[in-house]
Amino acid sequence: MNPRRLLLRKMIYVGLMIPLVLLLAVLGMPAAPGAKGAPGSPGGVLARLREQHELSPTTLGDIDPTSETLKLATLGLRGVASTILWEKANNYKAKKDWTNLAATLEQLSKFQPNFVSVWRFQSWNLSYNVSVEFDDYRDRYHWVIRGLHYLDKGIRYNRNEAILVWDSAYFVQHKIGRSDERVQFRRLFKQDDDFHGSRPMARRDSWLVAKERFEDCLEVVDRGGRMRGSPLLYRSNPAMAQMGYAEAIEKEGTFGEVARREWKQAGDEWHAFGSIDLPRTGTETTMRLNDYEPRLEQRKALADQLDALEPGLRERLRQEKLAALTEEQRKALDTPPEKRSTRQMDLAAQAEASIKVDHNEQARRIRGENRRKALDLAKKIDAIDDELHSLRSSRGIVNFEYWRLRAAFEQEADTVDAREAIYRGQQALAETDLVAAKRSYEAGLLKWRQVLDRYPQLLADENTRSITVDDLGEAIDEYRRVLKLLDEPFPEQFVLQDVLDYHQANQ
């Protein structure tokens, strides 16, 4: 190749490179802040896209120089390095080499600081899987906290990932507040100066710390952070943590005004949760769990209005439907439910469904000037029914009514006294002071009678009843044991006979 052709070729290359470099410069120009409050430059297309999709490390969270250096040092083989480290971590875990496992997880987090699954999976690994490998509960606690620290680091690098904050709240609530070792863990947690720093002693309860973190999670969500799961559930968490706190302090022997205050706080927070606008599944609208009862009343008022448009129509329609039933169906319906055969039960169910008068049907049968009004009313009832259905379903998911009731009756002086008396009985039983134990149990059970009389709902529906019976059944069993140890018979006229009957039926 002669020198002229060579030169020409070089010039062509340079000529092609210049526009490409310019294009790249325009596309990739970084964003620049403006001077003294003036609006800055948003940067090139790439910078804007990065900002828009939150891909820039600075928008994700803190930047760790080590992490950035390591990522660069792998020369594009970060994926391979991460895979090797995952493999190593699994191997160390299998061989119970905890020092190297922890070191490998640190390295792994530096390679994948913005990969949320790494933080979630490995923090769970430390707090749940590694901790239980240790026999000593102090070692277990140490590893639970290590998992939490790991998660905290992940939160710093990913400040928009609310799920990491939620995880940390859940770990504190569940692992420290609910695990088998909760008595020991909660004690160590209170004494853990390194974890709490300047947090006052009164706030060092696992439930309160979990509540703080659940609230932090909601803050992240409210400022646009990413969160997985249903708002219905994660918005209920702070109030539920407060319930857990109130319950836990009573189990540990704190009663009186303190316990009542905490239950009142829980009730207030539960009410506040019920007033939050929550998305209704499958619609663009929102709902509030507290609206269930007002909606029911609204529905009743509308139904009454519909009935008033043509009085007696509803009953007439019912009679028509009754008349249309087959002989067999009518016979099944007339038979008392306890005497129905299996076939009759099916037939009665069918008959009951078919004689039900629907408000749309009722509206359509109205003629004349009221017809339009009737159809409007039926439409409104339909809309309320839809909302009521969503509310019923959502309230069922979070057991809304039970917790509302629970917070209400637990803040009663009688309930707190009843729980305190049972607690004293348990203490006395543990110290084998049987006479004192008997006295305390009897006082406590009597107080419970008063509470149950004031709150008959506690034994009304099946769900609430089963929780109440479980709760009181334990105390009744203990009382029975005390009497047995004292060689005394169980009273024939027992003060909580209704609870006992349910309890025995469950057993």
Binding site: K95, D97, N100, D135
Partner: protein
């Protein structure tokens, strides 16, 4: 803390049979080579001339290998050193320095066992860097000289091919030795500095102590208090101040020296002076007992099952890792270690038994306390057993239980350990779990006698000696391959030998069809088709062909596994990091293994070089 792959080696017993096998292999290799050479010569030159030329070759080879000139060999080694320096080996050193300088970024001194982490890091980093350097230097040198014809400046001189080969090996080894020496020194300082720290006391702790000392001065009886130090490197220590152990000088100042508890694998000594007026002065010493070289005496482990019958293993409690097997509590199950060659003079202060046990609970029990276990000693000759003590388990921690030379049993007997329990230097230690339905896990190296502690510095040097041996071995392989392969191919071959040696166990598993996902071809199919390693491949012709090819590959891998040295035998990183002494026997074994490969590699390299035209 577990050193799973411990090496309880008796060098004297090992060397005889090992040397015999080695000599047989060497003889077979020699005979095979000689026959092949003769056959080739006969084909080329006819029977008489071929036989004569083979005889000549063998005689010349014997002369070349025996009549080596140290002066010429050293001169060639000197040239090799100069060449290595010209090839900028300093870069490797610079990389090492950079890694060490920034290691603090990713090494956590607040880890549970920081010493282990730091030692593992320096030993692993050094090992990889030096071995890589050895691969590149040794494999590229000769081919580059041959390509550039600079080899002719050497072969035209009156030097033997064997001297060229040996000179290269010695030269590269010398370069590596200097480099390794520097790295070892820097690593040692790095570990000491990285782990060094001191603690102080918070204002609250000082206030508590001030009250204690005021009471002590007033003469009020006080039993001392426990305070915590401040938090440094992610840990704090608990210290027990006992005024009754303090001395009071003429000025009335109280002085004391106490030890902290063990935390993160170390403890400190704290000296203090409390003047009559003024603030107490604390002087915290450096961390201690974290850089150890324990000299363990291992016993042989056997088990008894719950009915008290001999069992090969204990119970499997479902652990993925099968190193430990478990004995049932509240039954006749026991883990028994039999020790040999014990002498009373080795243990003037009693028998120090160190153990790291696994604990498996089938029910919660009392979680505030460890699971109770018992230690007994038994005379293997008479069967006489004596219960030494009951202890509470401490899982994943090294627990030291000293068996006194003389002790009383529960039934009132006085036992003299060596007189009553040791027979011909043999003693059995029985471990049992006392709590019913709870389990203790035990592995071979979980219980040993800590005879004494050797020097950590010397152990550190031995750890680096292991890396040095690996380097020499790789240099030998590199020079061997470079005598008949081109540079890049020689690098691949040497690198392959290194990888094969490092992952020798995996190679064996692969050759025995014990790895999930099949052999190399099957694994490739799975990779491309994104199938996981445990599902069966569809029974197609393609699968059958792939598996047949893998069968052939497995035979090759089995052969290669037999031929390659096991580099794990030369790696003592775990010993140093876990604080176990590398015995001289183990080191001697490693040296012998290195020589067993380097010697024949040198001879083969000589033969290949001599066969090449340029050296004739």
């Amino acid at each position: 803390m577990v050193l799973e792959s411990y090496h309880a080696v008796n060098f004297a017993e090992w060397i005889g049979p090992a040397a015999k096998v080695w000599l047989i292999a060497l003889l077979a290799l020699f005979v095979g080579f000689a026959v092949l050479r003769w056959l080739l010569a006969v084909i080329r030159q006819g029977p008489a001339a071929g036989t004569l030329s083979t005889m000549e070759f063998l005689l010349a080879a014997a002369a070349d290998l025996v009549l080596l000139s140290p002066r010429r060999t050293l001169a060639l080694a000197g040239l090799t050193i100069k060449e290595s320096i010209r090839r900028r080996i300093v870069i490797v050193f610079a990389v090492f320095l950079i890694l060490v300088a920034f290691a603090g970024w990713f090494l956590d001194p607040g880890s549970n066992q920081p010493a282990r982490l730091y030692l593992s890091f320096v030993l692993t980093t050094t090992s990889y860097l030096v071995l890589l350097l050895a691969v590149f230097l040794s494999a590229l040198s000769l081919p580059a000289d041959i390509r550039n014809h600079t080899i002719h400046t050497v072969v035209t001189k009156p030097v033997r091919p064997s001297e060229i080969v040996l000179g290269r090996v010695l030269g590269f080894a010398a370069v590596g030795t200097v480099l390794l020496g520097l790295m070892a020194a820097i690593s040692y300082v790095f570990v000491l500095r990285g782990l060094d720290h001191q603690h102080d006391f918070s204002a609250a702790a000082r206030e508590q102590l001030a009250v204690l000392w005021r009471e002590a001065r007033r003469g009020d009886s006080t039993s001392g208090i426990t305070v915590s130090t401040d938090r440094v490197q992610n840990h704090r220590h608990t210290v027990y101040f006992d005024p009754s152990q303090e001395t009071v000088d003429e000025q009335g100042a109280r002085r004391g020296a106490i030890r902290t508890d063990m935390e993160n694998g170390h403890e400190h000594e704290i000296r203090y002076v409390v003047p009559v007026d003024g603030e107490p002065q604390f002087s915290c010493g450096p961390p201690e007992n974290h850089l150890l070289a324990r000299v363990p005496i291992y016993g042989k482990l056997r088990f008894k099952d719950r009915a008290g019958k001999d069992a090969e293993k204990g119970v499997n409690v479902g652990d993925e890792w099968t190193y430990r097997s478990y004995i049932q509590g509240g039954s006749l199950a026991a883990a028994i270690w039999t020790f040999e060659n014990l002498r009373e003079e080795q243990f003037p202060d009693g028998l120090p038994v160190e153990m790291t046990l696994g604990v498996f609970r089938t029910h919660k029990g009392d979680i505030e306390k460890g699971v109770p276990g018992s230690l007994s000693v038994r005379n293997p000759a008479t069967g006489d057993e004596a219960h030494v003590r009951t202890f509470a388990s401490r899982e994943f921690q090294t627990d030291l239980q000293v068996i006194p030379l003389e002790f009383q049993t529960g039934d009132g007997r006085t036992i003299n350990l060596f007189r009553d329990m040791v027979a011909d230097g043999k003693l059995e230690i029985w471990l049992r779990c006392v709590a019913p339905h709870q389990y203790f896990g035990a592995g071979q190296a979980d219980l040993y006698l800590r005879a004494r502690d050797a020097s950590f510095a010397m152990n550190f040097v031995k750890g680096f000696a292991g890396i040095w041996l690996q380097m020499v071995l790789i240099t030998g392989f590199g020079v061997l391959f470079s005598t008949f392969l081109s540079g890049p191919i020689a690098i691949l071959a040497t690198g392959g030998a290194l990888l094969g040696g490092l992952f020798s166990d995996f190679l064996y598993q692969l050759s025995q069809h014990k790895v999930y996902g099949g052999g190399p071809i099957e694994a490739m199919i799975r990779l491309v088709t994104q199938q996981n390693v445990v599902t069966e491949l569809p029974p197609t012709a393609q699968t059958t062909v792939a598996q047949m090819l893998d069968k052939a590959a497995e035979q090759w891998m089995w052969l290669i596994w037999h031929m390659l040295p096991d580099f794990r035998v030369l790696s003592f990183s775990d010993h140093v990091a876990y604080g176990f002494d590398i015995s001289w026997g183990l080191l001697a074994l490693a040296i012998c293994q290195t020589l067993a490969y380097v010697g024949p590699a040198f001879v083969l390299a000589y033969v290949f070089l001599k066969s090449r035209e340029l050296a004739q």
